[in-house]
Amino acid sequence: MDTFLAALFSGTSRGAIYALVALGLVIVWRGAGVVNFAQMGQAMFSTYIASTLIQNGNPYWVGFFVALFAGAALGALLDILVMRPLSNKKKTELLSSESMRAAIPVIASLGILGVLQALAGIIWAAEERGFPAPAAQEGFTVAGSVMPFTSFDVFVISIVLATLTMTTIFFKKTGVGLAMRATALNQEVARLSGIRTNFTRTLSWAISGAASSLAGLLITPTSNLSPNTLDLVLIIGFTAAVVGGLDSPAGAVLGGFILGLVISFVTFYLSPEDVFLSILAVLLIVLIVKPRGILGGKDSRRV
């Protein structure tokens, strides 16, 4: 029973973070039509900024909010400096095939990931460092026994749920949210409606950058920080997004929790070595049964 509870709680807490990563991917995919592999590179970079600030004696929350802001700024900057010029070049006759053109920004995002990791290595050295948690990482004590659930877990789950609620309301209820959805769904009709699509795309990158920075801040207390530590998180987050349906924010969240729980239960009941196999198994089963993901719409792209 204790093992079960421990697996359940740690899976939920981890799943919340994967949900956040997946949500970041879905926002850029829907808002700009790009699968952004640089996302956790951006998160790593802004977490380093937070880490440096905290090590220099600033309070945790200063580092936290500066990192969120830096993540948003970096996302916006990448769109303006790299993605927008690339999409303006789309119509060159050299690359006439549609799938080749769609691949360009994805390859560019892999390049950006490499550059960010190299830069982080140069600036902060490549060795691992710890990152503080804003809440205790010891389990609660109930009736004399230590529960497998920490205040930090509570913090992670509540902050992720708050973020998810806020993004949902933002997309559904605000004018800017509608403009962003319209841009993602049909850029031509959006522009003819007077929506400044360049701006809404950049905004997608910024929001996604902030969301993934948040994921970086929440996962590094348990995994340490190095230029490459977040790669694995990106892979799991991407799988979560695909499992849930790449075009569905709700699906991304669902996928994140499913993967978090699967990984946690496999780690507790089988062995940590089987984690990758289990991720692959989940991915395969979902893709065979529902090729567009659990909550993917009928118009979404097959993986």
């Binding site: 509608l178 009709v189 959006a190 409606s193 929506i195």
Partner: protein, 237 residues
């Protein structure tokens, strides 16, 4: 008033518009007719900024709009309803309409709400279906929705591309009637592209006949309608 001079638009080596000169008179319906591939849609897409011309000028209310972005041209008062019931299927009916007035939502708050109500009065069926996804609408309803989306931007010039495409004659009549009423009652200028020349000339004040990217005739609609030689040569009936 919209004035176009010597407008040329090409796609690679294909010249879609070949030195077009014409105008759309204020508060009148001007129709552009011609066979498939005559350049009608390209003309509207060039006016609304979706395509950039290789040469020539487009003057709207005294200012050149060549080279401006589509989103800025809408804001300058030109709304374009592109071919094929251009709505966003994954958004609800109301979201599709609201999309067209997003850029005015801060500056003209009360008018934005009023414009939505006007659309519901104009097309009551859209109000019944306001929460439904646009993808579930019939072809005629989608066309009404696309027109509503354009109208809530409060345009002074409406560019309509083949509103009759794929619709039943009764629905076509209803939509054309509606555009006619709007033009006569609010003074809206309309540039109507149609392959269905008979219907278009019946409602328009002025007609421009295009063939292979060139203007073949530019006359009052009634005159054009009566010219059986032109009709036989270019429209095939």
């Amino acid at each position: 008033m919209l004035t176009i001079e010597n407008l040329t638009t090409s796609f690679g080596s294909v010249i879609a518009l070949d030195g077009i000169s014409m105008s759309a008179q204020e508060s009148k319906i001007t129709t552009v007719i011609g066979a498939n591939g005559a350049g009608k849609s390209t003309l509207l897409r060039t006016i609304s900024g979706l395509e950039s011309p290789t040469s020539g000028s487009i003057t709207w209310e005294g200012q050149s709009i060549v080279g401006r972005k589509p989103e800025d041209i809408v804001r300058a008062g030109i709304a374009h309803v592109p071919e094929g019931h251009a709505v966003i299927s994954e958004l609800s009916v109301e979201e599709n309409i609201n999309m067209g007035s997003l850029f005015r939502r801060r500056t003209h708050k009360s008018d934005v709400a009023a414009s939505l109500e006007e659309m519901y009065q104009l097309f009551p069926r859209l109000q019944e279906r306001r929460k439904q996804l646009a993808g579930t609408l019939s072809g005629g309803e989608r066309q009404m929705l696309a027109i509503s989306r354009a109208l809530v931007s409060r345009p002074r010039l409406l560019l309509l591309d083949e509103p009759s495409l794929g619709l039943a004659p009764l629905v076509v009549e209803q939509i054309i009637d509606c555009v006619n009423t709007l033009c006569r009652s609010t003074g809206l200028t309309v540039l109507l592209v149609e392959q269905n020349a008979n219907t278009a000339l019946g409602v328009a004040d002025h007609g421009v006949l295009l063939a292979l990217g060139k203007v073949v005739a530019d006359r009052p609609a009634a005159e054009l309608k009566a010219d059986s030689t032109l009709r036989a040569a270019y429209l095939g009936y």
